[in-house]
């Protein structure tokens, strides 16, 4: 048995290995926070259904909808995810800061955490300029006008169908 072999070879390495596995099990059973390099590996283990409402990003470059099927796999993810991440960064960062500070306070580390370190100072104008550059690189188009929306879709008659009006993502501003 490998563990026995390892124990006979080096007891410290064996104990470190077992500790890693035990911490891993602990974080996986407990769910929620992790401690890199001890991570959770769910890989689509949440439940998904056909009736789920999909919040889909719609991007318009020079007043034309962007056809994501003509963009590389990574480019597609970048254009979509950075918009979503930017929309939620302020709220998410504050929530995670408060949660982590509360937990780390128990080991006298929380008071070292300064809120400004965990908060972005980026403005919508700065984000738009950055995103425009990113979109130009990915799509290869010179962008004169850019707008982004989020719209709810559900599966109807075998196709994704809009069920609400598109909501403009305010992170993208006129330039």
């Amino acid at each position: 048995m490998f563990l026995k072999q390892l124990w006979l070879y080096n007891k410290k390495v064996t104990l470190a290995f077992l500790l890693f596995i035990l911490l891993w099990i602990f974080f996986n059973v407990k769910q929620g926070a992790v401690a890199t390099p001890i991570l959770q590996y769910s890989m689509f283990s949440e439940n998904y259904h056909l009736r789920d409402t999909q919040n889909i990003v719609r991007l318009f470059i020079n007043n034309q909808p962007v056809d994501f099927s003509k963009i590389s796999v990574s480019g597609r993810d970048q254009l979509q995810v950075y918009l979503e991440n930017y929309s939620r960064q302020q709220q998410t960062n504050e929530l995670f800061f408060n949660t982590m500070q509360r937990i780390l306070n128990k080991v006298e580390v929380g008071h070292w955490m300064k809120k400004e370190c965990y908060t972005n100072t980026v403005t919508d104008q700065q984000f738009t300029a950055w995103y425009k550059q990113l979109a130009e690189r990915i799509t290869g188009e010179k962008i004169i006008h850019l707008s982004a929306f989020q719209q709810k879709f559900v599966l109807q008659n075998g196709r994704l169908t809009p069920v609400a009006s598109p909501i403009k993502l305010t992170g993208i501003v006129a330039f």
């Binding site: 998904y48 960064q89 982590m100 950055w130």
Partner: protein, 278 residues
């Protein structure tokens, strides 16, 4: 066949090749600090990340182009240095390996906070240097098997989570995943073959579900590796199929994990205790 210095060298080259291929893919897609030039970061429920963020390095990375370049250069250089050290059997190899592990953790934590790439992918570059820290075939053997078991645990954990959450009993699961994963593509495309293929799977939920069950079974199959090494070559085939399927059907890049296949290839070589003790 017993493990020899030659195998350590082969493994080192394989590690470097995989790393450079990945670095190339990331660079090509603008996924480096210096090519992305980020303007904001996201925090996460991660103790290590929050402790590292005490340094405020996240803001320095947003502000300083040269710091971003330095991060990318060091991230590229350490695996090259480690490979050279391993091939030449330098005395400092364990120190270089430790530096590579620690730096990769720092790099990955900050990079995943400014990009869409997940932390899990970087586990390959965090764990592999442990194997290359070995200065003898005996150490190499034990570290290789430790990483092999850790990888199996990671992979099997994903299957266990799917069973525990009940996802493997939900026939709509894979169709729902396709809607979530490819929603933007489906809504914006002009009905190309991939759109039709995905819609076909969405509308034939049982066929789609077979994909999900097959994927889960592939993950679960790795549990065999905890009891025997006899089927490791088969596991390599299963693993590579999993990576390709993930890329072509799910459009997720998991080739960052390809280097783990090396653990399953070199596990076939045994430790010659007699030779080691001489």
């Amino acid at each position: 066949m017993s493990l020899s210095e030659k195998h350590i060298k082969q493994f080192s080259w394989f590690y470097l090749l995989c790393f450079l291929m990945n670095y190339g893919w990331f660079w090509w897609n603008g996924l480096l600090f210096s090519t992305l030039n980020p303007v904001f970061f996201l925090n996460g429920l991660d103790f290590t990340r929050n402790i590292l963020m005490l340094s405020d390095m996240q803001h320095w990375l947003l502000k300083s182009y040269w710091l971003r370049i330095a991060m990318d250069v060091v991230y590229l250089s350490l695996p090259i240095l480690l490979t050279v050290a391993s091939l030449r059997n330098f005395k400092a190899t364990p120190i270089i390996a430790l530096a590579t592990i620690l730096f990769t953790i720092v790099y990955a934590i900050f990079f995943t906070s400014i990009s869409y790439v997940s932390m899990q992918g970087f586990m390959s570059w965090i764990l592999m240097p442990l194997i290359l820290s070995a200065t003898s075939t005996r150490k190499f053997y034990y570290y290789l098997h430790i990483v092999r078991i850790l990888f199996i645990t990671m992979f099997v954990a994903a299957a266990v989570e799917k069973i525990a959450s009940g996802a493997v009993f939900n026939v709509e699961q894979m169709s729902g995943i396709f809607l979530k994963q490819h929603g933007v593509y489906l809504v914006s495309s002009n009905g190309d073959w991939f759109t039709q293929f995905i819609y076909f799977l969405i509308n034939h939920k049982t066929i789609a579900f077979i994909f999900y069950i097959t994927g889960t079974a592939a993950e679960l199959l790795f549990v065999v590796g905890l009891f025997t090494r006899k089927y490791d070559r088969l596991l390599i085939i299963v693993f590579c199929t999993f990576l390709f399927a993930d890329y072509f059907v799910m459009q997720i890049y998991y080739f960052i994990w390809l280097v783990f296949a090396g653990c399953f290839y070199f596990s076939a070589f045994t430790l010659d205790e007699k030779r080691e003790s001489n």
